[in-house]
Symmetry: C2
Subunit: 353 residues, 2 copies
DNA sequence: CTTCTCCATGGAAACGATTCCATCATGGTT
DNA sequence: AACCATGATGGAATCGTTTCCATGGAGAAG
């Protein structure tokens, strides 16, 4: 356990002041003679500036925070890989937290990041605007990914709020000042994704299409309502809470209470997994008895039998773009990004029986 | 963007010295009167000590680093969740890096963590002992998870080194000083896991059993050799490099070059996935034409058709235990942990045709 | 030759915590 | 009454960096 060389050691060994060393190493002005000398000595001593001193001086920890609900959800794994790839190429560290979809844990993790003076954060939010207020107030640069926080003020009508979000992300902000948080986001084009899927199912003759949603999927639910057209049969829209168990319970309940449905759109890969399992348990054949479209293209979608038809969204890109946004913030005013989805037709949808 | 209160603000507002505030907050001695007063003022100012100052003073960043090869591999997602759960309950931050299984990137990430003065690290190593030397030398507390780094000194006979590792992890260290790195590890009982799987396949009548391995799986390969007994048919042991493509290529090549094999053990879930895909592509029916056992129990193993028989290893526990070890280090001399595996029989194995 | 400008340079102050050490008060013992 | 032990307390040093500012020298312009 040898102690590392400090800037002072380098300065002494090179016969210059610490200020000069700092300048040379961070690209300030210096004569080519001293520059060479300092660089040589630094290399010789294997000097690497300590982030500790720098962080304290600049009153901020470099790098970025990343908050996701659950890393065993393959989609969030992809998203995290994207963030890490961007961070790595920028040489920035990433502080990771997993919220379990719980706003309270999310708030706690935000608090910890604040304590660490991490001032850049990428999050798949679980809490509402109130949960996020402390971070914003503290001056954190936040970028949301995959979804937006719920609006507590709209709580009497979440559907309206989600529709609002859809508009907002189209760049058609209907009432700019009505959304207090001005936080950029990187999300998939849920409206188009869902619409394409619903149209596809309609084309196969399906009339009773259900939506199996998870927490934070208000935008997808709204898009679904829009795609199937009013009036939406409320019973055909059910929700899990985020855990695999509750997703299974929701799927199973749906199949049992509405044997008349002929197609299901699952709002995420965990929900899709639950739907496959529940269908099998109830002896429903896919796609003969029920057609299934799942959000998220994950490697195992192809392994199912039949292989699952999915709405693919670019998880890795989403993470990468979010990381870019959060790093560029300050240089450029970050603008929200909507990434395209793609319907990948495999074998889990068939004509209505 | 309001600036946070510092310890100085609290001290002034409470009419005491900064030293006293620090003591009160970190559990030092203080009269109950001042203690109350300081706590009241701190709460009132919403004071939270900045990790920056503390880190610099203690010359170490709190929390821990976590290095995994790939977060889209569900097993590493589980492992990461375990680490995060432990860290969260300890209130410690986690710095994450994804190495892509590349020793060079791993070395780079280690360098970055060193720069951040992170002195506790959990890693699924990709590089060899040489890659890890800098971290050890710098006095980092390292705990390996899932596997151990390769030994470059044994390079003439990796099998012997892996067998050595197997012994070592049994607690039967054959020559204690022969392993220079004394780094604790949390791994699955690969030997038992593989042996159980091979016995199971033997019991079904299989004679030609292949092993589909990935990088860093020397211990599993050695265990496989041990389980099938010498002489091992070298052609029946093939490797992918870690990417899904190369895993697929390895699996496909194996099936084509050795149509006589009747069973495959895949050393990880990505390899299992590749085996299923390759078998399907070559019109090999599972389990009629070929039986398959996969390492890692992942949620989608049940979704396959047939559902996959797996060697389950407790990924989440592995991460949790590793985090515990790395946090307790210093208090207790950490000892390696071997976690049990379980053969979960589903439908991907059948009698030899 | 003088003066002005510009650049390289180094000393020193910050940043916010912990911790050493000296001081002081209190209370008990001889 | 003098002395000592104990415990609370605050000032100041410290960690390693960046950055402000003053200084000094060299070159250009007058």
């Amino acid at each position: 356990m040898e102690k590392r060389a400090t800037i002072k050691d380098v300065a002494e060994a090179a016969g210059v002041g610490v200020a000069t060393v700092s300048r040379v190493l961070s690209g300030g002005s210096a004569s080519s003679h001293t520059r060479e000398r300092v660089l040589a000595v630094a290399a010789q001593l294997d000097y690497r500036p300590s982030a500790l001193g720098r962080n304290l001086r600049q009153r901020r920890t470099g790098g970025m925070g990343l908050l996701v609900p659950d890393l065993t959800d393959t989609f969030y794994g992809q998203l995290a890989e994207g963030v890490l790839a961007c961070a790595r190429s920028a040489g920035e560290p990433v502080m990771l937290g997993s919220t379990g979809g719980d706003p309270e844990q999310e708030a706690e993790l935000i608090g910890m990041l604040l304590e660490q003076s991490v001032d850049r954060l990428i999050a798949v939010p679980s809490g509402d605007a109130e949960t996020w207020a402390p971070a914003i107030r503290a001056g954190m640069t936040v970028v949301f990914a995959d979804r937006l926080p719920a609006q507590p003020d709209h709580e009497e009508d979440p559907a309206a709020a989600a529709a609002h979000d859809l508009l907002l992300l189209d760049g058609l902000s209907p009432a700019p000042q009505s959304r207090p948080m001005d936080v950029p986001a990187v999300v998939a084009d849920d409206r188009a994704g869902i619409r394409t899927a619903v149209r596809y199912l309609r084309g196969l003759g399906h009339k009773r299409i259900a939506f199996l949603g998870g927490p934070g999927q208000d935008r997808r639910v709204a898009a679904f309502g829009e795609a199937v057209g009013a009036p939406v049969d409320e019973e055909l829209v059910v929700f899990g809470t985020g855990s695999r168990d509750s997703a299974y319970a929701a799927a199973s309940g749906l199949f049992q209470s509405r044997p008349d449905l002929s197609a299901v759109v699952a709002g995420g890969n965990v929900l899709g997994e639950a739907a496959v399992l529940a269908a099998r348990e109830l002896d429903l054949r896919v796609p003969r008895d029920v057609s299934l479209v799942m959000y998220d293209d994950v490697p195992w979608a192809e392994l199912c039998s039949p292989p699952l038809t999915v709405i693919a969204q670019p998880g890795r890109d989403m993470g990468y773009r979010a990381a870019e946004l959060v790093l560029r913030a300050g240089t450029r005013r970050p603008r929200s990004v909507v990434l395209p989805t793609e319907l990948i037709i495999r074998g889990s949808c068939g004509p209505r029986r």
